[in-house]
């Protein structure tokens, strides 16, 4: 799945560059959290964008704004479409702000100590 994440990200960046997407609006993490939950992003990507093995790649740290917009508008693989009426470009910026606001990952040693 990690590979899929990079493929999706790479393709999205490529398309976004070609399309010349506008500059990233300022994001509101609170509004982003609301949108992230309301649109159901959490269901496949986890409440903090941590990703799930089969259902949605990790979104944390979030991909660049242009790539995120591109992926939502013209998604790759099984990702559903999210049109402007469902989530605006500003809303995408809000979601990115939310994903940046969640707690930072713990050190791997915490988990390895349990193994």
């Amino acid at each position: 799945m990690s590979n899929m994440r990079f493929i999706v990200l790479g393709a999205a960046v490529l398309f976004a560059s070609a399309a010349g997407v506008v500059a990233q609006p300022a994001g509101d993490p609170k509004a982003g959290e609301t949108a992230y939950m309301k649109l159901g992003c959490y269901s496949c990507h986890g409440v903090w964008g941590q990703g799930t093995w089969r259902d949605g790649p990790r979104l944390n740290p979030p991909m660049p704004y242009e790539a995120m917009v591109q992926q939502l508008r013209t998604p790759r693989y099984e990702m559903p479409f999210y049109v402007e009426s469902q989530i605006s470009d500003k809303g995408v910026a809000d979601i990115i702000a939310y994903l940046k606001s969640v707690p930072k990952p713990v050190d791997q040693s915490v988990i390895k100590a349990m193994q």
Binding site: S2, L39, G40, G46, Q50, T52, D55, Q86, I111
Partner: protein, 644 residues
């Protein structure tokens, strides 16, 4: 003639009436002595070849059901899971009194689906079948979903159902509703074999045949319908003397692949540049993983485990399951062992509009060898046989039974040059899995403190408590994103047992209890991570665990939803730009009110904790739960969890 004699005896008020069963209608013997019943004041309707008044009202001596218990003991059935029902009341009574409720022991369940699913889980761990006994028509229909799971998973179980076959002796209303002309028709599409014997000797022979058939690959459930009169009636002594229970003699064998085809497979494996081994339901016995490791190490070939059984230790260096697609993309030969979906090895059908068939990234010269017993049990109606896909070499035979021959054939085919080449291949494979696992570890760090509790935190807190114990995890973990396979060390053949077969929800909770029953005699700690949706299909399983003192720790992965369907409905709505609709969660949430599974478990008599919402509280809760299980009792922890 016998009938006339009996009639005359009755009319003359003779107390001693001959004991007759359907199988022994002509037997003249007297089985018991008891007072004749008072003559009824209403005219009797003739009961074909037997009259209620031809039989003594009290049975002294052996009954048909007693003999049936002898048969069940003879074939080694240790447990019968069942909800009581009148159509098998005679055999029920015989099990608990005549048989002293030991081998088989009657295990009381609260739903027939639980009875059958317990058989499913038990057989996968014990490597032998147990039985469930289900009420005529109604009970069998309740059990049918669990039977279908077991059939699709190729797991044996002995299903015994009652039926009042004789229309003249059926009581009105209820017994008619619980009787059926061809009971097995209800489940014939997904059982391996069935019979409805009309004599006790027939019951013995059919049961022994059933044991033979169901434990020969491809395995599957079998159904024996037990006639009510046959169960209830006494056995005339002359008939009893003639009854014989057959014994399966000699070496039991499994169907093995044709030797010439196996040699051809060995040639292809040795000649391949990048062979990949793909076991799915390969491991039939506890010896299977070691054989697979032997083949993989001989070839230095990566193994991509389909996890339909515990096929190979997850930490074995050649286990490349975490990089499945990459391994398949490099392969010029895939050896599929008891595969289910061969088509899916080369083609993806993504869940998007039009469901396109998209070829997976594969080598153009890819060849596939399939070894499996699937083709030996064709059925037509239910589509669990999956999409047809041609392969380059199809070997019809049980993969595990074929494995020793294949290993020897590969050895015979290998030269010193091959050995060097394979070792070089093995060197190239080193480090690939570690990189893949490191990525998963990174994923886990991003959600460690999350609320609702994340799946990797859930499974690692559990692992931390059981890693030094003799543990077993009989439940599926795909709804926890398979985290145990990434983070745990799974190396014993009984520690996991694959999937449900047909993905019928409600499998995990009862199947885990059946597995726990098998684990109990080995002193293993059974931990069962079950979804809230799964547990709600069979919550009564908790009472069975408590009542029969079966040690098991249920950990409820409580995402308060049918989360798979949450994702599906959201995806469907997103396709239609309706994802923000106010009704979007109608039908998929198990909330408002949120069930309290700890209270439910306590109500059934279990030690329970929860709901646990803070990941920091998890370790202590699991520790307490394990302590209870170590005392031989079941326990439950309700854990408020993220969706996956």
């Amino acid at each position: 003639m016998a009938k006339k004699i009996r009639r005359r005896q009755f009319l003359a008020g003779v107390a001693a009436a001959p004991a007759v069963g359907l199988a022994a209608a002509a037997a003249p013997a007297v089985a018991a002595q008891a007072p004749a019943p008072a003559r009824p004041s209403v005219p009797l309707v003739p009961n074909d070849d037997r009259s209620l008044f031809d039989l003594p009202p009290q049975t002294i001596g052996k009954t048909g059901a007693d003999f049936m218990v002898d048969v069940l003991k003879s074939v080694g059935i240790d447990y019968i899971a069942s909800c009581p029902g009148s159509t098998f009341r005679a055999i029920h009574e015989s099990i608990i009194t005549y048989g002293n409720n030991s081998k088989p022991e009657f295990l009381t369940t609260l739903h027939e689906d639980t009875s059958a699913a317990m058989c499913h889980g038990y057989a996968k761990i014990a490597k032998k079948p147990m039985a469930c006994m289900v009420h005529g028509t109604v009970g069998l229909q309740h059990a049918s979903m669990a039977i279908y799971n077991a059939f699709a998973d190729r797991v044996p179980m002995l299903i015994l159902s009652g039926n009042i076959g004789n229309v003249a002796t059926r009581q009105v209303i209820v017994e008619w509703n619980h009787s059926v002309q061809d009971q097995a028709a209800i489940v014939r599409d997904y059982t391996k074999w069935d019979d409805q014997p009309t004599s006790l000797q027939g019951f013995a022979e059919s049961t022994v045949r059933a044991m033979d058939l169901m434990t020969t690959a491809p395995m599957g459930p079998v159904l024996i319908t037990d006639d009510g009169d046959l169960q209830e009636d006494p056995i005339p002594p002359e008939v009893e003397k003639r009854l014989k229970i057959p014994v399966l003699r000699g070496i039991r064998s499994q169907p093995s692949g044709d030797v010439s085809a196996v040699r051809e497979a060995a040639k292809m494996l040795v000649a391949a540049e990048n062979p990949v081994i793909f076991p799915y339901r390969y491991a039939r016995t506890e010896a299977a993983p070691a054989l697979l490791v032997q083949l993989a190490e001989l070839l230095h070939a990566p193994v991509v485990d389909g996890r339909g059984r515990m096929n190979i230790p997850n930490r074995h260096p050649l286990n490349h399951t975490t990089r499945r697609e990459a391994a398949f993309a490099e392969a010029d030969l895939i050896l599929a062992l008891e595969p289910v979906d061969v088509y899916g090895l080369t083609t993806n059908i993504p869940d998007i509009v039009h469901r396109p068939n998209i070829p997976a990234r594969r080598q153009p010269n890819l060849k596939i060898i399939q070894i499996g017993a699937e083709g030996l049990m064709p059925k037509a109606n239910f589509q669990n046989f999956q999409r047809f896909a041609p392969v380059d070499l199809n070997i019809n035979g049980d993969a595990e039974a074929t494995m020793p021959t294949l290993i020897e054939a590969v050895k015979a085919e290998m030269t010193a040059a091959h050995k060097s080449k394979f070792e070089a291949r093995g060197q190239k494979l080193k480090g690939l899995v570690e990189r893949s696992l490191a990525q998963r570890m990174t994923d886990a760090t991003f959600q460690w403190e999350a609320k609702p509790i994340s799946s990797p935190r859930f499974v690692m807190e559990l692992w931390n408590q059981i890693k030094n114990e003799n543990w077993a995890l009989p439940t599926e973990s795909q709804f926890l994103s398979e985290w145990p396979y990434f983070l745990w060390d799974i190396n014993k053949p009984y520690q996991t047992m694959g999937y449900s077969g047909a993905q019928g929800i409600g499998y995990n909770s009862p199947a885990a209890l059946g597995a726990a029953l098998a684990n109990k005699e080995h002193g293993r700690i059974t931990v069962a991570m079950v979804g809230d949706g799964d547990l709600n299909m069979a919550p009564g399983v908790l009472w069975t665990a408590a009542h029969h003192r079966i040690p098991i720790l249920y950990l409820v992965h409580n995402n308060r939803s049918y989360h798979q369907e949450v994702m599906m409905i959201l995806k469907m709505a997103a396709r239609r730009s309706r994802v923000d609709h106010k009704n979007i969660y109608v039908g998929t949430l198990i909330d408002d009110p949120a069930p309290n599974y700890a209270k439910i478990a306590e109500g059934y008599g279990l030690y329970a904790q929860g709901p646990i919402e803070d990941p920091k509280d998890l370790a202590a809760a699991i520790k307490r739960g394990i302590e209870v299980v170590k005392r031989g009792e079941p326990a439950l922890i309700d854990i408020i969890s993220d969706g996956r």
